[in-house]
């Protein structure tokens, strides 16, 4: 059963929201539904309301920051900003360019491509279920989605803007200015941009997969091969050492050997933690809807899930900092196939959030 929870809307919802207005505002997000509780439940004096936001089954409740409560207007604004290439210096790169809903909320390439065709050094991580992440970016250098959203805008090889430039540009677009006034009671600010995009991203959820239904008691939700793969995933293949919990990640950093053969390898987490043991360690990504976001690993160096499993099966790439959970697994060809089937079939959501670009102001 879908999990439901209430959200307080005291700041941004001066009137009781109607179902119709929410559906209108959220246009393309068919996978997501908001519905108001009855007027009787609303405090009669305070102008506030509670809405109910469906989280797909198998996922925990979403914790919204106290200073960034979710409202439909804010989510709609965040979606526009997310898809708007005017946030980049050449007007061609939006968040969605590298985190494309049609490509697993990544970009289908080994690394991201920013303004003027410049290539980044790492694969574009999926936006799916970032609502549950403790750390943002492959190296976890930021904690919140609000902070993260402003990073690529300012990165010279991604969107290449300064925050004052982007704020000035958006304030020149009446549709944005009026929405910011409505949502934040201010003109466009960089803080508001971060908050709106983060609020939108917290609605990009992947759950209610065959695995979730199987776990909930539907014995036929997984095919026999996927069920065998599930047993391997949580057993002999040891995937759940790191890909654990409802979002299939321990939210931690591990060195699995990827890229460590380079003369000067990307040190990942070490750059910000400065802990020697974090050299070459990268954040464990979610595996939900993993079939959609190839290629894999922080450098996009593995094209298929079969290649990924082969990497682990041989014990990763040995190096001084290799995680102790990585060692040769001795899986057979049949076991590898079952494991991949589990990830492809078992972890695909029933209602993938294939959000279409909204109309921009």
């Amino acid at each position: 059963m879908p999990r439901r929870f209430g959200l307080s809307f005291s700041l941004y919802s001066p009137r009781l929201l109607s179902c119709a207005s929410l559906v209108l505002m959220l246009g393309g997000f068919g996978y997501m539904s908001f519905s108001p509780i009855s007027a009787e439940d609303k405090p009669p004096i305070e102008k506030s309301s509670i809405i109910v936001f469906k989280v797909p089954s198998g996922l925990p409740e979403i914790i919204h920051p106290a200073d960034n409560p979710i409202t439909p207007e804010k989510v709609a604004l965040g979606a526009q900003l997310y898809f708007d290439p005017r946030l980049s210096s050449d007007g061609k790169v939006s968040c969605a360019s590298c985190h494309d809903p049609a490509k697993g909320w990544s970009n289908g390439e080994a690394v991201a491509t920013g303004v003027n065709g410049l290539k980044g050094g790492r694969s574009a991580p999926t936006v799916l279920n970032t609502a549950f992440q403790v750390f943002q970016f492959w190296d976890g250098r930021m904690n919140t989605l609000e902070e993260q959203a402003l990073g690529p805008i300012q990165n010279p090889i991604e969107m290449n803007m300064t925050l004052p430039e982007v704020v000035k540009r958006l304030n020149g677009i009446p549709g944005y200015k009026s929405q910011f006034q409505k949502v934040f009671k201010t003109d466009v600010t960089s803080e508001g941009i971060g908050k709106a995009i983060a609020a939108f991203e917290r609605t990009v959820l992947s759950g209610d997969s065959p695995y979730d239904r199987f776990t909930a008691g539907d014995a036929k939700a997984l095919s026999p091969a996927a069920e065998r793969g599930r047993d391997l995933f949580f057993g002999a293949a040891r995937c759940s050492s790191c890909h654990s919990g409802p979002n299939f990640t321990d939210n931690a950093f591990h060195n699995i050997g990827i890229g460590m053969h380079h003369k000067e390898p990307d040190h990942g987490r070490y750059a910000s933690s400065k802990l020697e043991g974090d050299k070459g360690a990268f954040k464990t990504p979610t595996l939900r809807d993993i079939a959609r976001s190839a290629p894999y690993m922080h450098d996009g160096s593995l094209k298929t899930l079969e290649e990924v499993v082969a990497h682990y099966n041989k014990g990763g790439f040995p190096n001084e900092y290799l995680d102790e959970e990585i060692f040769p697994l001795k899986l057979t060809k049949e076991q590898i196939a079952d494991l991949v089937t589990f990830m492809k079939e078992g972890l695909s959501s029933s209602k993938y959030p294939d959000v279409k670009p909204p109309k921009l102001p």
């Binding site: 949580f234 790191c242 931690a252 043991g277």
Partner: protein, 337 residues
Amino acid sequence: MIFKNAWLVAVSASLMCAVGFAAEPKTTVVADGIDNPSGLAVQQSTGDIFVAAHTGVYRLVLGAKPTLHKEVGDFATDIYGKGPKYNIGPLGVGMLGDDHLIVADGSNPDEKEVVLVMPVGKAAPKAPHTAKDAAFVLGPIKAGKDSAKGEGNYYGVAVGHHAIFITCNGDDTKGWIAKSELKEHKPGELKPFIATKLATNVDAPVGITFSPDSKHLVVSQMGEMNVPNDSLLTTYNPDDGKSIKIWKTGLHDIAGLAYSPKTGKLYVVDFAWVKTSEGGLFELTVEGDKVTATKVLSLDKPTSLTFGKDGHLYITEFGTSKDNKPAGKIIRVDADL
């Protein structure tokens, strides 16, 4: 061996702070220069405290001038962490009655690791015992269906009326607490018993003790080393292993827990791997679904704690080594806790 700095009184700087800040209680270093101490157990008849450290298990004889004597030696060395790295040997200790010491070893590779049950007298032996003198050897738990590469890094020890419980850190998909049933005071085979990772989705059961009424096993889940604030407090039924309650503590890496015999209050030590400056001794207050952690004392990489026969709390800490000299200490908290 008498420590040069024994009875060095550490007065917390916070005593000098403005009114409004809770002063840290006075502490006394009762032993120092120990190489990575990580476990404590009290022999009730003598009041001596056994200390597990990298180089062996020691007997701390308290008194005007505390002395430390090697009780069990000849362990191998394993390394914990990828940087910082710590040399480790036996990690945890516990008492089986008054005359047997349980040594949870971490000095060997997974699958070869064992738990020793050593006979002990009322004073240290003339020459340290070795594993050969063990009355019982529990384990190893070899690679198999329950544990893909075998179990190891045994750490926490809890002894009940009917069984010994040991926290293990081998198979990270399971996070086992192993159990050895006691029959006529003899420990039976050490078997994987509670898969804490499956119960909590968080790694590494480490600290373990019984609730004051002996009904529940109380276990700390240390969590990921490089993730802050993910440590859990959990309880299990010791008979069937079922999870009873899971609390988020907001602490980083709880390595040990102990109830005050006087007040029943629960104290824990947080190693705080990524932010060692935030580590220390905390009191955990449980109210329904909520746990509140209140810092009692700042400590430098604390690893275990126990209440002595004298009622005082004793804590091991790794400390920070200079010139590669062992920097571990045993600290006594002089206040009533």
